[in-house]
Symmetry: none
Subunit: 213 residues, 4 copies
DNA sequence: CATGAATGAGAGTTCATTCAT
DNA sequence: AATGAATGAACTCTCATTCAT
C-alpha cells in the first residue's frame, strides 16, 4: 500500500510525466522553429539571442533551459536540416536492375528542389549563412558535401558499368554536377514561383548531354 | 588631367604633394594586403581590427585614417578582387568570326582557375567568407554572379545562332555552368597541387557533352 | 503546551498533524544536512541552490518551501553550528571551588578540538567560508567571537583573583588565547590524523607558560 | 638623415614614451587603489566591476586595458599586500650574535601591527575577505601563512639552541604564536585608536611567559 | 599624419527565485 | 506539500570606433 502510494507520483509516468515530456518537446520545437526563422532572415552573426527569444516569446533563461548556447542551437538546426535533405536524396535505388537512371535522378532532383522550395528558411541557412561561422559547422557542411559527392560518384561509376555513362573523370564530374545542382537551388531561393519541374528537367538534360549540338 | 583635379586642393609644390600621395597610396595598399591575408585566413567575423593593424604594423588610429570601418575595407577588398576576376573572364572574344568557342572558353576557364589558384586568399574570401556578412557585400556578390551569368547566357545564345549549341533553356543552363565552375574552384582551394589543365578540360567536356554515352 | 500552541491552527486529528510536523521537520533536517555538506565542500559562493537540492534529492520549489533563500539556510546553519560549539565550551565550571583551571580548560580545549575534528564540514564552514559573505553572518560570527572572548576574559580575571594568573592585560591576552586556539583548529582541518591530545597540551602549556626558558 | 628622421619618433623613447609609460603606470595604480578601496569596503563578491570603474572614474573597457579580469586585479592586490607585509617581517636578524630576540621581535611585531593599522583596507582584505574566493588566492594565502610559520619555527629553534626558548613542540607553538598575532591584528582593524605599543608588549609577554603566575 | 589610450554600447550567459500544475 | 519549468535582472567581458596628444 504505502509503496503504491509512494510510487503514486511515478505511476503517472505514463500520464503527467509523459505529457510533460511531450510539452517539453513541443516547446523545444517552438524555439527551434523560431531560431530557424530568425537565423535564416538575419544570418547567424546578425542574430542575437534576444531575437530568438523574442520570436519564440520566451524568457532569456528559458532559452538556456533548452539549448546550451546560441552556437548549440544553430548546430542542432544544421543537423536537422541536413538530415531532412539526405532523406530526400538517399531514396534512390542503385541496384543493377533498377529503373533507368535518368528517371530515378529526375525524381530525386525534383524532390530535393521541392524540399528546398518548401522550406526556404532551411535552405537559405544551409546554402548562404552557414559557411565560415564555426569550425564545427564547417565540418558538418563539408562532410555533407562529401557524402553527396560520394553518392554521385558511385552513381556515375555504376552508370559507366551499365554503359549509360561515357568515359569521363567521374570524380571531377561528380563535383560539377553537385555544383550545378547547388547553383539552381540557390536560384530557387530567390524565385518562389520557379517552375521546378522544368528546372529539374533542364538540370538533368544539361548534365546528361551538355550543351553541344 | 584627373591627377591635376585630384591634387587641386593643394597648391603647394607639386613634387611634395605627389610624393605624399604616393606614400599614402602605398600605405593603403599595405593595409589592404594585410587585411586580405587576415580576412582570408580567419574569415571576416573572426578577424579583429587588431589583427589587421598588427599584420600591417600600423597603429589603431592609422587604420581609420585610411578606411572608414572594418566593413568598408572588406567591401573595398571584395571590389578589388571581383575586378581582378572580371579581367580574366571578359577578355573573351564574342564576335561572330572568333575562334572556336571551345578553345576560347577553355582558355578563359584555365585563366580563371589559375587566377584563383595563384591568389588563394582572394579566392577563399570570395567563395567562402563573403556570404552573409552584410547586405552590401551580398549585393556586390550577387551582382557579380549576375554579370557572370549574363556573359555565359549571351555566349550560349551566340552559340545557338552559330549552331554550336543545341536548343536548351539557355538561361538556366548558364546557371548550371556557373555552378559547376564555382564548385571546381571551391575544390581547388583545398588542393593546391590540383592539375588545373586537366580540370579545365573535364569541366569543358562535361559542360559541352554531359555524361551520356 | 508549546506544541499545542503551534498546532493550534489545525483542529484536525492530532495524530495526523503531529506526524506531518515530524515529517516536515525530518525533511528540513535532511536539507540542512545536505546544505552543510555542499557549503563546506564548495564554499558559500561556489554553491548553487541546484547543488543543495541535488544533494538533498528534492525539487527546486521544495527548497523554498522550507527556507526563504540560499542566504537564509546558510544563516540557519551557522546558528546551529555555533550553538553546538558553545555547548562544548560553556560546560566549564567557573565557580570558586572548581577543579584546577588547567585541568578544566584542558578538558574544554580537547572537547572543542575534538568537536571540530569530528565535524569537519561544520568547522570548515565557520572558520573558512563564513567570513565576508554577508553583514548578518559577519555579525553572528563577530558576536560569537565576542562571547568566547568574554568567557576567556572572565576566566582570566577569575584566575587572577585565585592567584593562578599573573598580572596581565586580561582583555588583550584573552584575544591572544582565542587566536592561538583558532589557528590550531584551522590546522586540524587539514590534518585529519592530528594528535589532538598532544595538541591540546601544547596549546595549554603555551598559553600558560609561554616559550621562555 | 632619413634614418635619423625615421628613428625620430623613437628617439623620444626617453621623452614621450617614458612619460607615457609613467602615465600608464600612474593610471594602473589609480585603478589598483580604487579596487583596493572597493574590495575592502564591500568584499570581493559584493564588488562589481562597475564599482571599481566608478571609483576609479574610468570607462568599462579601460579597466580591461589594465587588468585581465576582476579576479586578476584582486590577485595582484593580494600579491602586492603580502609583499608589503613580508618586508616588515623579514627584516629581523637571526644570526647568533644578534640583539636579544625579545627586542627584535618586539620591533617586528610593532612594525606589522603598525603596517596593518596604517593600511586598513589592505588588512581587511587579507584577513577577512580573501578566504574562499578562489583556489589561487587560497593558495597564495596558504603559502604566505606557511612562510610566516616557517620563519617563526626557525626562530624558535634558534632560540632553543641559544637557551632562550624552553623545550616545547616548536612547530605547534609557532602556529599558536601566529594565531595570537593574527587575532590581535584582526582586533586592530576595528579599533583605529588602539595603543599599538601596548598591544605589542602584551603580545610579546604573553607569548614569552604565558599567563601563569 | 600617426599614435594608442580611452570609450561604452552591447553581447552571451548564469542562477536565485517564482508560480502554475 | 511537492514539483520543475519559467523567469529576468544582473553579471563579466569584447571590440569597433574616437580623440587628445
Amino acid at each position: 500500500m504505502s509503496s503504491q502510494a509512494e510510487v503514486g507520483d511515478r505511476t503517472e509516468v505514463d500520464g503527467r510525466t509523459k505529457a510533460a515530456l511531450k510539452k517539453r518537446e513541443r516547446r523545444r520545437t517552438t524555439v527551434l522553429e523560431a531560431a530557424l526563422r530568425v537565423f535564416s532572415a538575419k544570418g547567424y552573426h546578425q542574430t542575437r539571442v534576444s531575437d530568438i527569444i523574442g520570436e519564440a516569446s520566451i524568457a532569456r533563461g528559458t532559452f538556456y533551459l533548452y539549448f546550451d548556447s546560441k552556437n548549440a542551437i544553430f548546430l542542432e538546426l544544421i543537423d536537422l536540416l541536413l538530415e531532412r535533405i539526405k532523406e530526400n536524396v538517399v531514396g534512390v535505388d542503385q541496384s543493377d536492375d533498377a529503373p533507368p537512371m535518368r528517371d530515378q535522378i529526375l525524381v530525386s532532383v525534383r524532390r530535393v528542389l521541392g524540399a528546398f522550395q518548401q522550406d526556404r528558411p532551411l535552405a537559405k541557412l544551409i546554402l548562404r549563412e552557414a559557411v565560415g561561422i564555426d569550425a564545427e559547422v564547417d565540418k558538418k557542411l563539408g562532410d555533407f558535401h562529401r557524402q553527396l559527392h560520394t553518392w554521385l560518384h558511385l552513381s556515375l561509376l555504376n552508370g559507366q558499368q551499365l554503359g549509360f555513362v561515357r568515359d569521363v573523370d567521374t570524380e571531377s564530374v561528380a563535383w560539377c554536377i553537385l555544383g550545378s545542382v547547388k547553383q539552381l537551388l540557390w536560384l530557387v531561393l530567390d524565385e518562389p514561383d520557379a517552375d521546378l519541374d522544368h528546372l529539374g528537367e533542364v538540370l538533368l538534360d544539361f548534365n546528361l548531354d551538355g550543351i553541344r549540338t
